[in-house]
């Protein structure tokens, strides 16, 4: 009998090209996604070596980070961003890499377009020069972020040198209470294990609550694996996964589809397989989650107060919290509910898919956002934008007083002009509340699309459960 293996171990084992003693494994990469920010120096490296892109047919590029989310018929005003976008176009042309450019109908955040095209498939290895590549793990894919040197390695050889990570099982059991969504689950987990808790590990999310989630919600969970320190987070493929992929433009078709599905069915973790670590979360006890500090681990149930630094067990943690609260200008012991806000951002690779926009729209329908608050709704891709418009979500958002924008990363990373002013408070559906992440001096509260929409309407942090 063969040894019981985890989902991760099956995919890892199936992608080892060679593994010499005292060396990392050479891992074959099935799909490489590329964007404008972390690739220019890698393409330049290829040029300097006189190398080619080894497998352009396993590579796909798009623009998402530096591009404006305003009228696409206008040129990019920021000359440095324009040059970076142009450089990607030149690189894709010179090296034969397919590019989903602005207006192609498929442009979008890399982690939104891979799944929607059906390119992100169970059992494959997938990398991108971007830490939120963990998103794709929702399909039972081994997907993780890499640096630019590694981008060059994969472009040149379709392979990557890797040491085998450890495994970490995160079980979510129970039924989701009203108003609790995937974002609350993952924020609760990160608050529990800390932002370095998963370092060196691959997370596998399991349990009845995970099984009950739709694919887009699973992507929200896997997306934030890196905020718990884990480079990858995975969920075993099941009927939900297979239904989602059926008929997608780049998913296997016909007899290939049947064979692929048979392969995917063998991927889930075997009974009795061992993990290096385990944690579990009782979903039925969760409240909507919100962060108060400057890293995603600084989160609490929304009805709780800002924590006291002196209550933390370790001096380094108290110091970090004190610094975070000074940056956030929040007082320990004060409630978060009712804290006034200036901006709401609904978007990012965590929460910019159709179901996220539907959640936000369900609250905004027939209501107005607070006149004191600027609300940006940024779909994750041109495809999401099209679908949302076909369902009249655009009308809902605009009638409520929110801005409906073009697809991109936007205020998640504030590279494109969509940014907070110094001192502004923002409830954001993105994944990072680091100092300055949404604009220099800006202050971020991370939360779900429901909490974001509820807070937009009241102009202050709001418990969505009071509106359901």
């Amino acid at each position: 009998m063969t040894k019981a293996r985890t989902l991760f171990e099956k995919i890892w084992g199936d992608h080892i090209v060679t593994h010499e003693p005292n060396c990392p494994a050479v891992l074959y990469i099935d799909l490489h996604l590329v964007h404008e920010v972390t690739s220019p120096q890698a393409f330049q490296g290829l040029r300097d070596r006189g190398a080619k892109v080894f497998r352009p047919g396993r590579t796909l590029a798009t623009v998402d980070h530096s591009i404006p989310t305003t009228d696409r018929s206008l040129p990019i005003i920021d000359p440095i961003a324009a040059r970076q976008v142009d450089q990607l176009r030149i690189n894709c042309r010179d090296f034969g890499v397919p590019l989903y450019d602005l207006g192609s109908g498929h442009q979008g955040i890399v982690h939104v377009i891979g799944p929607e095209l059906g390119l992100t498939q169970p059992g494959i290895t997938l990398v991108c020069g971007d830490s939120h590549t963990s998103t794709h793990g929702a399909f039972g894919t081994l997907a993780f972020g890499i640096g630019t040197t590694e981008v060059e390695h994969v472009l040149a050889t379709q392979c990557l040198l890797q040491h085998k990570p450890k495994t970490y099982e995160a079980r979510f059991e129970g039924a989701l209470p009203k108003g609790i969504v995937a974002k609350d689950l993952i924020l609760a987990l990160i608050a529990k294990i800390g932002i370095g808790g998963g370092t060196g590990h691959v997370l596998e999310y399991r349990g009845s609550a995970i099984g009950s989630l739709a694919m887009e919600a699973r992507m929200t969970i896997c997306n934030m694996s890196i905020e718990g320190g884990a480079r990858a987070g995975m969920i075993a493929p099941d009927d939900t996964t297979i239904e989602y992929l059926a008929g997608r433009p780049r998913a296997p078709q016909g007899a290939d589809w049947e064979r692929a599905v048979a392969r995917w069915r063998r991927l889930p973790t075997d009974e009795g397989a061992a993990y290096d670590r385990r944690v579990s979360v009782d979903v039925s006890q969760l409240e909507p989650m919100i962060t108060y500090g400057t890293n995603p681990g600084m989160g609490v149930p929304i009805t709780q107060a800002v924590p006291e630094p002196s209550s933390l067990p370790d001096a380094n943690q108290s110091a970090a919290l004190r610094k975070a609260l000074a940056y956030m200008q929040l007082e320990p012991g004060r409630p978060l509910l009712g804290h006034p806000i200036d901006v709401v951002f609904i978007g990012s690779c965590t929460n910019s898919r159709l179901s996220d926009l539907r959640l936000a729209a369900s609250l905004m329908k027939g209501r107005k956002v607070s006149p004191k608050v600027r609300v940006l709704v940024v779909p994750g891709s041109e495809e999401v934008k099209r679908q949302a418009e076909a369902e009249n979500l655009r009308e809902v958002f605009e009638a409520a007083g929110a801005e409906w924008r073009e697809a991109g990363c936007s205020m998640c990373i504030a590279m494109n002009g969509d940014q907070l002013e110094p001192g502004q408070y923002c409830v954001s559906t993105s994944n990072r509340n680091f100092e300055g992440r949404q604009g220099k001096g800006g202050r971020t509260f991370l939360a779900s699309p429901l909490t974001a929409a509820a807070s937009a309407i009241h102009g202050a942090i709001t418990d969505v459960r009071t509106m359901l």
Partner: protein, 201 residues
């Protein structure tokens, strides 16, 4: 890459835990298409005021930081974004090693590929080093990569671990891509037995 063997250098302490790569180099400086000039924007928003003037109380603006080669950082240094601009910026400033009790995985990987040594020490050693730097800002530590030793003045020799492959590449100045490219036959054999499952073209 230049081979790395042993070097000595002054230490600078940034003991705060969980310093993310967005602090090391803020995103708005990632619009560059090369690696030039990143040292000036290292820790930009901690280092300069809103007028772009150096903040005198920030450690990297103090005379002791000039020419420093070793950054003594708090736990989980380099968490967050995968931007390789973080080690590029640290190296452009002059750092050759970062010492902490742990690192973000991607930052650690990126650093090793660029010749910035991420050295993990235990908490006791870390506290000793912090105390030493606090007492004497000009204290120099010596890093000996072949021996995997960190020598702290007035303190013990501390051995650190590094995977054998990275050590070999760094001490010989070898590029890791060269190693993968030499596996050409194995890659071809792998592709033979694993027909293309993904088509982007």
């Amino acid at each position: 890459m230049e081979p790395i063997t042993a070097f000595s250098g002054r230490m600078v302490a940034l003991p705060m835990r969980d310093i993310d790569t967005d602090q090391i180099i803020p995103a708005r400086f990632l619009k560059t298409i090369d690696k030039e000039g990143l040292g000036e924007d290292l820790f930009h928003d901690w280092r300069y005021d809103s007028q772009g003037r150096p903040k005198p109380d920030f450690i990297l603006n103090q005379p002791s930081a000039e020419g420093a080669a070793i950054l003594l950082a708090g736990d989980n240094f380099g968490c967050g974004s995968s931007r390789e601009h973080a080690p590029w910026a640290l190296m452009a400033f002059g750092f050759r090693a970062v010492v902490s009790t742990s690192f973000g995985d991607i930052f650690r990987n990126n650093s090793l590929k660029n010749g910035l040594l991420p050295i993990i020490v235990d908490e006791t050693t870390h506290s000793k080093m912090l105390a030493l730097v606090e007492k004497d800002g000009s204290a120099e530590a010596k890093v000996d990569l072949p021996e995997q030793l960190l020598r702290i003045p007035g303190g013990p020799e501390v051995s650190f671990s590094i995977d054998a492959f990275s050590k070999k590449c760094l001490t010989a100045g070898l590029d890791q891509l060269g190693y993968i490219r030499r596996q050409e036959a194995a890659i071809a054999a792998y592709e033979q037995t694993h027909p293309a499952n993904i088509h982007t073209l």
